[in-house]
């Protein structure tokens, strides 16, 4: 009987260092370490010259100034050639007037898409699904989003997550459901009974000792 061997690929997880890469992009050769000190949104799209991806590229370009205000860079990826990326970016600019300001990885070898778990064979064996990896300034993966081929991403949610993560880092707080900048944040849960009793006296907006919010 023929033995079928499947290679088990480990997909990076939140809190782990982002897998290293040195890649050819539409802006030249780039390494992950080039982004040290900046936040990075690494995202994959299924293919160049496709409709949903084109709407996403326009939308990513539109939020790029907002990302830059947050010290964040954008890096696209698909299993297409650099020539294809350049031709598509030029076509988008020619047809819509929107310039694509960020580099796009030409991952023809599938090395990066495999190491980041961007290929989901039940969706497509030859294309990446719509992944978003939010990588912080220390090159740690902080958020992973996966969208299917048919669903374009929500750019406001990507901005909201970056705002939430950077707020958490700066103020050591958590953010509640549907939080947006300016809303109250969640005070970390107390670890001891004494801390719980203290918590209620501190003037926070508390539902109970385990759920307290405050203004920043």
């Amino acid at each position: 009987m023929e033995e079928v061997k499947e290679k088990v690929i480990s997909i990076p997880r939140i809190g782990e260092p982002a897998p290293d890469f040195e890649v050819v992009t539409s802006h030249g050769v780039l390494k992950l370490e080039d982004y040290k000190g900046s936040w990075l949104v690494l995202f994959s799209h299924p293919a160049d010259f496709t409709p949903v991806c084109t709407t996403e590229f326009i939308a990513f370009s539109e939020i790029y100034p907002e990302l830059q205000k947050r010290g964040t860079e954008l890096l696209g990826l698909s299993i297409d050639s650099v020539s294809s990326h350049i031709a598509w970016a030029r076509n988008i600019e020619e047809k819509t007037g929107v310039k694509i300001p960020f580099p796009i990885i030409a991952d023809l070898s599938k090395e990066v898409s495999t190491s980041y778990g961007m290929i989901h064979p039940e969706q497509s064996k030859t294309e990446t699904v719509r992944c978003v990896f939010i990588i912080d300034d220390k090159q740690i993966i902080r958020t992973i989003l996966y969208y299917p081929l048919t669903t374009g991403r929500n750019m406001q949610e990507i901005l909201r997550i970056i705002d939430a993560l950077q707020t958490t880092d700066q103020y050591k707080v958590a953010t509640p459901a549907n939080w947006k900048p300016g809303d109250m944040v969640v005070v970390p849960s107390p670890n001891t009974q004494e801390m719980a009793e203290e918590r209620v006296k501190q003037g926070y907006d508390c539902v109970d000792w385990y759920l307290c919010k405050k203004k920043l």
Binding site: G28, L30, D34
Partner: protein, 72 residues
């Protein structure tokens, strides 16, 4: 967007980096601020220009070479 073109000469971005280096900025963060280019572009560009001997590197301090100066 690379800093060295296929003809081996610095691109517009490359010239910006070289001019910023020549004006006294010598680490990637300062060059990014001085040139207005994103930091990742400066780092990858400096790597290319070191390989092309337009720039020399000592730890994280970069210096424009005579060959680099002759191109700006």
């Amino acid at each position: 967007m690379a800093c060295i073109g296929s003809d081996g000469k610095p691109t517009i971005s490359g010239i910006k980096v070289l001019r910023t280096l020549d004006s006294g900025h010598n680490n990637p963060e300062e060059i990014a601020k001085g040139s207005g280019l994103p930091l990742f572009r400066v780092r990858s560009g400096l790597r290319q220009m070191v390989e092309a001997s337009l720039v020399s590197r000592n730890d994280d301090i970069y210096t424009i070479t005579a060959k680099g100066k002759s191109l700006i």
